[in-house]
Symmetry: C2
Subunit: 192 residues, 2 copies
Amino acid sequence: MKSRPYGYQISPPERGTSFDNHIERRLSSLRNKFSDGEAFQAMLHSGDPLIYEVYENRRPETAGELLSGLSIVHPGRVGNEYFMTKGHYHMVRDTAEVYYCMQGKGALLMENESGDTAVEEFYPGRVVYVTPCWAHRSINTGEEDLVTFFVYPGHAGHDYGTIDATGFRKRLVQQNGLPTVVDNPLWSEIRR
Amino acid sequence: MKSRPYGYQISPPERGTSFDNHIERRLSSLRNKFSDGEAFQAMLHSGDPLIYEVYENRRPETAGELLSGLSIVHPGRVGNEYFMTKGHYHMVRDTAEVYYCMQGKGALLMENESGDTAVEEFYPGRVVYVTPCWAHRSINTGEEDLVTFFVYPGHAGHDYGTIDATGFRKRLVQQNGLPTVVDNPLWSEIRR
């Protein structure tokens, strides 16, 4: 972790050299996230593919620091549902996040604990601002990698448990060849 | 100011529609910042050119929010010194900033109150991370606009006064046709 200002190249992504943390999420880490359980099991048995990756630079987890890096969601679907990230709230709810789309197409699916939902498109050159208190999930609706550059406050933290327990209220699926937002039949408020 | 998540396009820049705050800085607002006073006066009398602009979206000034937008430094020189921003510390010193260079070439000149200095290059695709407690100034060393996308914590604030009083320890000037970092003969520690 550097104690002085520093620069790094993100386009074209020099992933190996620019970052000091690399996270890989395979299908097996997304159990119960996709609606089509049979398609999930079949894909799991055929090789547990890599669904998404995160490259970032570690920083102190304090309010004045910023965590930044690249999110890469690979293209594909489980049944008719697009490859996506687990999705999470920030542990410190009152913290925002900025995404800048560098490559590919897709969407950021968001919801808050009041029951509001939001979907913002990703395409190259577009910024999405996640206002504080909104859970967020990146979804790749295209044929190539969806690459976004993200920045969030150092003290935000990750809460995956809330989404693990309830799922998101909405899903992004392919219908008639097009990305379509539908209600999530498995969404549950049990936890609350 | 939006209360829900939102998206906006920054490349190609749709400046008019994507942002709700626009700041313009002309040469006259940079008095005593450039080392060549005669060149400054001559340029001022010939029309007070626009040196840089900032487009941003307003957000609440709290630790969990993020301020983001575009900085555009136009090309040119005052004498042999490249067009640049005023430069500032954050009012809350212990806050970072992330810059992503979208267009043009230049550098971010930085220093901290311990007397350390740093210069990081800007070119398209490059991120510069300004660690907390470092003053920073964008400088355009190219022939076209230098466009960077910035993100900083909502509670950071701006302290222009410290740099107004002392200047930066270093300058970026054209020597033998190339950008060169030199000591600032006018740098003063009087204030401390």
